[in-house]
Every structure is written in C-alpha cells, then in structure tokens.
C-alpha cells in the first residue's frame, strides 16, 4: 500500500531519528500502517480518509519521533541542571546588566559633551542596547555551559548532604539582594576608580573642580585596586552561596577583610593617592576658626580614610562573629 501521505508521514518521523535506525523504523512503520489499514478496511481499498484516521491514531510525527528517540534528554537543560542554571542566571544577569549599563552610561556621559539635541536619546539608546546585548551574551554563555555540563553528566553537588542548610532559626538567613548589592557596589567602585576617577571631584572656590585623587598614581595602582574589588566581590559571592551566616563564611570574610585593609594601606598610606593640589588647598583654606581643624584633615586625609575603612571592616567582622556566637547558643 503505497500512498504519498504515508510516505510523507513516515519521512516526517524518521528525519528526526539517528540515521542508522531510519531505514529500519521506516520499514516497520510501513508494515504497521499496512496492518492498521487492513484491520480497518479488510479487503476494501482504503480511502484517503481511512489513511488520515490511521495516521491520526499514531499521533503527530514529532510525538512519535520523540518516543523513538527515548524519553530522556528531551530538553537542553533539565532536572538538577535546570535548577542550578536558573539560580546562576538569576545572579549573573542582574549583575552583568547593571555593570554594563553603568559603564556605558558613564563613558558616554564623560567622553562626549552634550552638543547634540538628541544627546539623551542617544545615551538612552546606547545604554539600553549595550545592556540588552550584554544580557543576551551572558544568557547564551551560561546556557551553553549548562548544556555542556548536562551532556557530560557533570556531577552538580554530588555531596549534597554536606550542603544541606541548617534549619532557619539556627542561623540568620542572608537575603540574596544584600550580597548582590554588595557586588554591584564593588563593581561600581572599581569602574569609577579606574575608569572615571575625574567623577570624584570637589568644588573649591578659588580652584574650581579638583579631583580628589591623583589620577596618575591611581591608575598605576590598578592591580591592588582590582584585587581589592575582587576580594570584596568574592566575600559577597560567598554570602550568596552560603545563604546564611556560617563559620566558614566568617573565616573567609575576616581573611578577606584583613587583605582589604592591607590593600587600603598600600593605596592610601604607602602611595599617597590623594591629589596633592587638593590636600594643599584644603590646608590653606581661610575658613576662620575651622581652619586649624581643616588643615589637620587635609594633611592627614589618607590616614583618616585608612582608619575609616579599617574600622568599618572591623565592625563587620565583629558583627559576623557575634552572630555566629549568638546563633550557636540557640
């Protein structure tokens, strides 16, 4: 029983199958459809309508092909891989989009003066365009990585028992937005410090706009500044991964904080990164009674910044330890 519709149907099924089984499945389906038609029509020649009924009974070609290819591996990323994939995307996408938006916004604002009436339209277009492109790229890369992981059955957290979270009342849960904001702040800081230090300026009556930092020295110190940001991001990423305050998190955070203090020392004390013009002006400002105080600030601004950073990190470390001690008593 040869019929064009049957041929088309069988072709539509087998084209989705591995080449080596195509011929066999084709023959088998021909034989099956022949039997089904015979059961339906007996000795009478089947009409087009009979063929349609029989083929409809077999289901759509895609459905049949998917049953022949096996039930598993129907999707690019499935099961535990999908759960991890979704989680990674939720963290990566906002960070990538925010970082790209920020850097495009800043570079456009600072590099091109607003001499065209459509400046803000162009700015808007560029920013949205770049953010979308970066978002799609990050999406594609993450998707690709997880598709590969799934194909090779890469173990995702095989030791899941060790990773079971403690019951909620035993440790303070860290809300995901806290570390994400922390990561964004670190990115923002490193983009501004290294890319656009001229943004950080103060207005002084006789001197006009003066940058706070010595841009040349700042740029020479790119390595400690980047390490500084990486440590900050690593700390926040650890919070995101742990999801709660753990002893491991406290140890890592304190270690990172010590390194950050050392970095701050290198940047502010070893290399005087502040703009000497500003320090000079600050100490010479004629502001009446306050001048002595301001002079002190001007001459020791580096030490003040270093002390502030150290104090803030010390407070953070003590808070983390206190929380752990408190939660272990519960």
């Amino acid at each position: 029983m040869q019929h064009e519709l049957i041929d088309r149907y069988i072709y539509a099924v087998t084209r989705h199958l591995p080449p080596k089984i195509r011929a066999d499945v084709k023959q088998e389906l021909e034989s099956l459809i022949f039997d089904m038609l015979e059961a339906r029509c007996g000795d009478i020649l089947p009409t087009e309508r009979d063929i349609r009924v029989v083929l409809t009974e077999l289901g759509t070609p895609e459905e049949l092909a998917s049953k022949y290819s096996g039930e598993d591996r129907q999707s690019l990323i499935s099961g535990v891989y999908f759960i991890a994939y979704r989680r990674v995307l939720r963290i990566v996408l906002p960070i990538v989009v925010a970082a790209v938006t920020l850097s495009v916004l800043l570079s456009t604002l600072l590099d091109k003066p607003a001499d065209t009436p459509y400046f803000f339209l162009i700015l808007f277009g560029q920013t949205v365009g770049s953010a979308l492109a970066a978002g799609f790229q990050a999406f594609a890369i993450v998707t690709f990585i997880f598709a590969v992981l799934e194909r090779f059955d890469a173990p995702l957290g095989a030791d899941y028992l060790s990773y079971l979270p403690p019951a909620p009342q035993q440790a303070r849960r860290i809300k995901p937005y806290e570390p994400i904001i922390g990561i964004l702040l670190s990115l923002f800081a490193v983009i501004v410090f290294l890319g656009f230090p001229q943004m950080l300026s103060v207005y002084i009556q006789d001197g006009g706009w003066i940058t706070i930092f010595n841009v040349t020295v700042l740029r020479q110190l790119w390595l400690p500044i980047i390490l500084w940001a990486v440590l900050g991001i690593a700390k926040e990423a650890m919070k995101l991964i742990e999801g709660r305050n753990t002893i491991r998190l406290v140890v890592v955070s304190i270690a990172a904080n010590i390194l950050i203090v050392i970095g701050t020392y290198i940047v502010f004390i070893r290399n005087n990164v502040l703009n000497p013009v500003l320090v000079d002006l600050l100490s010479k400002l004629p502001v009446g009674q306050a001048s002595e105080f301001l002079e002190l600030i001007g001459s020791s601004l580096s030490i003040i910044i270093f002390a502030a950073v150290t104090l803030a990190l010390l407070i953070e470390s003590i808070t983390l330890i206190a929380q752990i001690v408190r939660s272990s008593r519960l």
């Binding site: 089984i21 088998e28 021909e30 034989s31 099956l32 009974e57 957290g157 995901p176």
Partner: protein, 131 residues
C-alpha cells in the same frame, strides 16, 4: 554546585496553585501510572512466542490490556537495544514484518519481575484488606 536555597520556595509555589481536575481525569491519570510499569512485564511474557508489533497489540487488547502502537513500537525497539528482545525480519508474507522475541536475558529479567510482581500484589492485598 552548592545547595539550592530557592528550591523549596519554587516547589511550594507550584504546589500552591492546584489544577482543577475532575474525578474522571484523576482516575485516568492514576490508572495510566499504574499501568505504565506493567507493560514491559506483558511484553516480555508475551514475546516468549515470537510476534510482530501489531499482532502483540491485538493479542494484548484481546486480554483487556490496551496499548497504543505509538507507545509499543518505540518500546520494543528500546527493549531490543537493552538486549531483552531480539528481532528478525520475516519476508514470507505479503508485507515484510519484524518479529520480536524475548532473549535469555529478557527471560531472566522477566522471572525476577514476576517474582517481585507477585510479592507486590500480596503486600498490596494485605494493605487493602486491612483498610
């Protein structure tokens, strides 16, 4: 990859909105689940005598077990790939037909399956009689 914190949240979320299902739909869903595992048992048992796919469908439906061709044919092929069935093309008739039969491995597996099936039936009956 470390533990997944949003797992429980999403699971609760999907459980929180139940689908409106009629009793009939629920029943046919449960029956489908019940039957799913038993089809392999039927196929391995029936194919101790070689048969082609369509004949198997008719034989089974004659004993009250309905199975669709689009489920059985791929299943036969899968069981063959797993070494539980073997097949030969018979070209004697008007149309060539692929005859499947259970292999030794398939028979061994079938014996184990039957034993465990009987045990399950026994256990289930105990539970159902207690209830």
């Amino acid at each position: 990859m470390p533990k997944e914190s949003s797992d429980s949240k999403t699971a609760n979320h999907s459980a929180a909105k139940p689908k409106s299902t009629t009793k009939q739909e629920l029943l046919s869903g449960f029956l489908l689940e019940l039957r799913r595992g038993t089809v392999i048992l039927c196929v391995l048992a029936k194919l101790k005598q070689p048969a082609y796919g369509y004949k198997l469908i008719n034989d089974l439906s004659g004993t009250g077990i309905a199975i669709d061709a689009n489920t059985l044919y791929p299943l036969l092929r899968r069981l063959e790939a797993q070494g539980l069935l073997t097949s030969t093309w018979n070209t004697d008739g008007a149309k060539p037909r692929k005859y499947y039969s259970t292999t030794d491995l398939g028979n061994e597996l079938l014996n184990d399956l039957v034993r465990s099936w009987n045990q399950t039936v026994e256990d289930l009956n105990d539970i159902l009689q207690e209830a």
